[in-house]
């Protein structure tokens, strides 16, 4: 069973008391508990079962403007005493930093909304096995599929965040995740692809037949790929990777990157960085949202942010420490974005595909080719060659490259947004990227 609020609160209060008693001027503590159970299948048989049950504790102690932190998985009071003492001793010899402080009391979350992010349902391993059997039966129907690996994970978490200014709050979350990775083979190649579904509520996950069919279909269609020549082309990003552009954007507007001067978006507030059809929103209170939260990792209430409005950058993602450096108030984004998304574009998916007589449609990228200091982008890619709106043949062993500053201005979006992840984008087209192949 997941530990209840009272147990976690008692631990948090204990830690704060110890810290205060030995001389810390302020302290902030997080106590978390998580249980997850996973069953893995391979080729229609049980492959692995994995149960994890873990407590975690972390504390920041302050002496005026000095700060240090400690974390541990051992929550016995005797161990907590030793660690908090050690943390305090380290704090003493750590130099002062004028920007260190607990978050502004006035910004702390007071009331919690019920965001429907905890489903108390438990699915036992036999039922997980039943789901995975059905899934793999469908996924491996086609003879070209030579291997399937699928998994079902149920995860429950609970936490308390407390500080010496009186903040003490937390809540439970749950997630149910199923996935299937298939490998297909023909005389020319062997390819891998996947499908997955992750939801807060058990009843919302995709049914096993749909998931299995998609995994199989998406893998088989990649067989016998060709390598294309190098060219300037329009590149269409499948939804599952288009969201990566938003993640890069979010990293580049984090107050830490801005304060350190290591972002290509520094000093771009109120400037046009996307075309004027683009709106980007970070909304923490979507019911059942995978990124939904009541407050950030400091306890500050998170409200909806219009990060980009009609192409103009309106907000950075600000926490307390970097906010002070930048003279900005925290907007509750310590720890990053919540439910981040592009608003829908005007065209349909089909219209987007037909915009150019030829383009490439990318379903997967590999490599860590985003440089957020310069904005340079270059990654390996796999996908399809598209002519007159139709998928002609699979392609691989190519790279796509550009610079975010230009790419952002050339983004066009379809109107097919949905909320499968915590960061979501409609299907995306970027014109004028360099494709390197043969």
């Amino acid at each position: 069973m997941i530990k209840d609020q009272d147990f976690l609160k008692a631990k948090a209060v204990y830690c704060l008391d110890v810290a205060k008693k030995i001389g810390a001027s302020d302290a902030s503590v997080t106590i978390g508990h998580s249980i997850s159970e996973t069953v893995n299948f391979r080729n229609k048989n049980l492959d692995e079962s994995n149960r994890s049950d873990g407590l975690a504790f972390s504390i920041d102690t302050y002496i005026g403007k000095k700060k240090s932190s400690i974390s541990s998985s051992n929550l016995l009071n005797e161990n907590l005493d030793i660690l908090i003492e050690k943390c305090y001793e380290t704090t003493k010899i750590t130099p002062e930093d004028e920007f260190n402080s607990l978050p502004d009391k006035n910004l702390l979350a007071d009331k919690l909304k019920d965001l429907n992010i905890y489903d108390n349902t438990h699915i036992d391993n036999d039922k997980k096995i039943h789901y995975l059997k059905e899934l793999e039966n469908i996924a491996s129907e086609d003879k070209k599929i030579i291997n399937t690996e699928s998994s079902f994970t149920e995860k429950k978490t609970n936490f308390i965040l407390a500080n010496t200014d009186g903040f003490c709050s937390g809540y439970k979350t749950s997630s149910f995740t199923t996935s299937c990775v298939a490998v297909a083979k023909d005389e020319n190649s062997m390819e891998r692809d996947y499908e997955y579904s992750s939801k807060r509520y058990l009843d919302d996950i995709k049914d096993p037949q749909t998931l299995g069919k998609l995994a199989s279909y998406q893998t088989i269609r990649k067989l016998s790929p060709k390598k294309i020549g190098s060219d300037k082309l329009s590149v269409i990003f499948d939804k599952r990777i288009a969201k990566g552009m938003l993640s890069a954007f979010a990293s580049a507007i984090s107050s830490s990157a801005i304060a350190r001067g290591t972002s290509f978006l520094k000093d771009k507030i109120n400037e046009q960085i996307f075309s004027n059809s683009i709106n980007i929103i970070d909304k923490p209170d979507i019911i059942k949202g995978l990124g939904s939260k009541n407050f950030d990792s400091e306890g500050i209430k998170s409200g909806t942010l219009n990060l980009v409005k009609e192409g103009v950058l309106k907000n950075y993602l600000v926490d307390t420490y970097n906010g002070k450096k930048l003279n900005l108030q925290s907007n509750g984004r310590s720890g990053g974005t919540t439910n981040l998304y592009f608003e829908n574009g005007k065209q349909s998916y089909d219209e987007l595909l037909k915009t150019n007589s030829k383009c490439i449609y990318i379903t997967e990228t590999i490599g860590h080719g985003s440089n957020l200091v310069t904005g340079d982008y270059s990654v390996g890619a796999t996908g399809f060659f598209v002519e007159d709106g139709e998928f002609k043949y699979p392609i691989n062993e190519i790279t796509i490259a550009g610079n975010f500053k230009d790419m952002f201005k050339n983004i066009f979006l379809a109107n097919d947004l949905d909320f499968e992840y915590s960061t979501n984008s409609p299907t995306m087209m970027i014109e004028g990227m360099t494709v390197a192949g043969k």
């Binding site: 049950d53 005797e78 660690l83 380290t90 304060a259 590999i366 490599g367």
Partner: protein, 470 residues
């Protein structure tokens, strides 16, 4: 050595009995206990930004029957907790039949000392080095706009208890020291990063003011990149420098030779054993036995002593890297390659220090032989798709080669290639093998483990360079 039982109601004898009872009809399994301490001290933006200490204690209990692995972990070492885990394993493995009786080999060799690097250097002296780094770089050149430097230290003590009560232990120190510098000149910003580390004390790496050479190297890379031009796009010849660029070997070849992917036949290499997969003169080993290296281990996380495994010998595929599970199912022996990030994770076959050995050509000869191509000196990360064999890595320092001469530096670009065929495109192997500076972390199935790489300079006849200039 940590005593995992002295502060617990769980006596060693109880633990041994629970392990033996649970695993008696299984093919394999063990109780893995771990006590780790780690620290991270970061200087950034002219300040000591954070000083974190972490202490983690727990166990992972594994039962293996045929192909099925049941795993349960907890960070509470107690009788109740271990019994719960045992019940969980038994309920998963409903019909157990196991007979695997492969003893763990014994060895007295150790590849690093039982030290605790965190305690060996005072916090004050670590802070002092970080501040010196910051002052040194900022005084060096007005173009320096940002400096980040950090120490990472770890002390991990593990014990493996097997059915029958056999206990195997190891103490693993690990440190890393990194410097990152950002320069700004004429409106352009570029960063340079360099780091060093391994399984010795901080001062072993920092003696003779060695932190200065780390600063100089980070500064040099950033300066080179300030002058960089857009990288070319398309297929061309690529000369790789020695040392760290061997992450190409790690991504392109290494992962594809891990036992699990080959047992499951999902690796592009699974049916190539004994066949020619590389040019003549190419020999690649995975070695866990080099003293004090980041990827070295006295024993792996199943207790098997590590070894030097020859993967490819003179172009011919010789061995895969194996843990006990995959070795048993493929009817071979463990190569001491079973690793896990920590007690929360199951064991997987992983790399240690992956190295291409020296040939007899020089880097000069390689550069001179290229009419149009690039010379790649340093990389950021890489990634591979095991099944299709396609891999990428990102240059962080590279130059164009024109008519046999090194030209201008070029911007960071991704290089993409095909694992099973790339080594056949190697046409020259240098005589200058070098180990990397001790900074690599390999990710697989959500688990990160420290690894090393090494190679001499090599010439690859054809690779796709992912620049922007057609």
């Amino acid at each position: 050595m940590s005593n995992f039982f002295d502060k617990s109601d769980l006596a060693r004898k109880d633990a041994e009995n629970i392990v033996s009872d649970t695993l008696k009809n299984c093919d394999d399994g063990e109780l893995y206990l771990e006590d780790s301490k780690s620290e991270s001290i970061v200087l950034d933006d002219n300040k000591i930004k954070s000083s974190n200490y972490s202490s983690d204690l727990g166990f992972g209990f594994r039962a293996v029957s045929e192909e099925v692995v049941a795993y349960s972990y907890s960070n509470e070492i107690s009788k109740e907790s271990l019994k719960n885990s045992a019940e969980n394993l038994q309920s998963t493995l409903k019909s157990i039949k196991g007979t695997y009786k492969s003893e763990i080999p014994k060895s007295n060799k150790k590849f690093y000392d039982d030290i605790n690097p965190i305690e060996q250097k005072t916090l004050n002296s670590k802070l002092e080095v970080l501040n010196k780094v910051n002052d040194y770089l900022r005084k060096k050149d007005g173009a320096v706009k940002q400096v980040t430097a950090n120490f990472l230290g770890e002390h991990k003590s593990i014990e493996i208890i097997r059915s029958g009560g056999e206990a195997i232990t190891d103490i693993r120190p690990l440190i890393r020291f990194n410097v990152s510098v950002m320069l700004e000149k004429n409106g352009r910003k570029e960063t340079g990063v360099y780091g060093i580390g391994g399984r010795q004390s901080y001062d072993d790496y920092l003696k003779n003011d060695n932190w200065k050479s780390v600063c100089e190297e980070a500064f040099r890379i950033a300066s080179v990149n300030l002058e960089s031009k857009p990288a070319p796009a398309g297929e061309m010849k690529v000369v790789l420098g020695p040392g760290w660029p061997a992450i190409l070997i790690h991504e392109a070849i290494g992962h594809g030779l891990e036992g699990d992917f080959n047992r499951k036949k999902t690796s592009a290499f699974h049916n190539l054993m004994g066949q020619k997969v590389a040019s003549e003169g190419v020999t690649i080993v995975d070695d866990g036995t080099i003293d004090n290296r980041r990827g070295s281990l006295t024993i792996d996380d199943e207790g098997t002593p590590t070894e030097r495994t020859v993967l490819i010998e003179n172009g011919i595929l010789k061995n895969f890297m194996q843990d006990r599970l995959n070795a048993r199912l493929m009817k071979t022996r463990s190569t001491g390659s079973g690793r896990r990030e920590n007690y929360r994770h199951v064991v997987l076959p992983r790399m240690r220090n992956t190295m291409m050995l020296s040939g007899n050509q020089t880097q000069d000869e390689m550069i001179k032989s290229v009419d149009k191509g690039i010379f790649a000196v340093s990389f950021g990360g890489g990634q591979v798709d095991i099944t299709s064999g396609k891999f990428v890595f990102n240059c962080t320092e590279a130059y164009e080669i024109i008519n046999g001469k090194i030209g201008s530096p070029i911007k960071g670009a991704t290089l993409i290639g095909d694992g099973p065929s790339i080594l056949k495109e190697v046409s020259m192997v240098g005589n200058d093998m070098m180990l990397d500076p001790g900074i690599g972390t390999c990710g697989k199935a959500g688990q990160g483990v420290p690894v090393g790489v090494a190679q001499p300079s090599i010439l690859i006849d054809k690779m796709t360079v992912g620049g922007t200039k057609l």
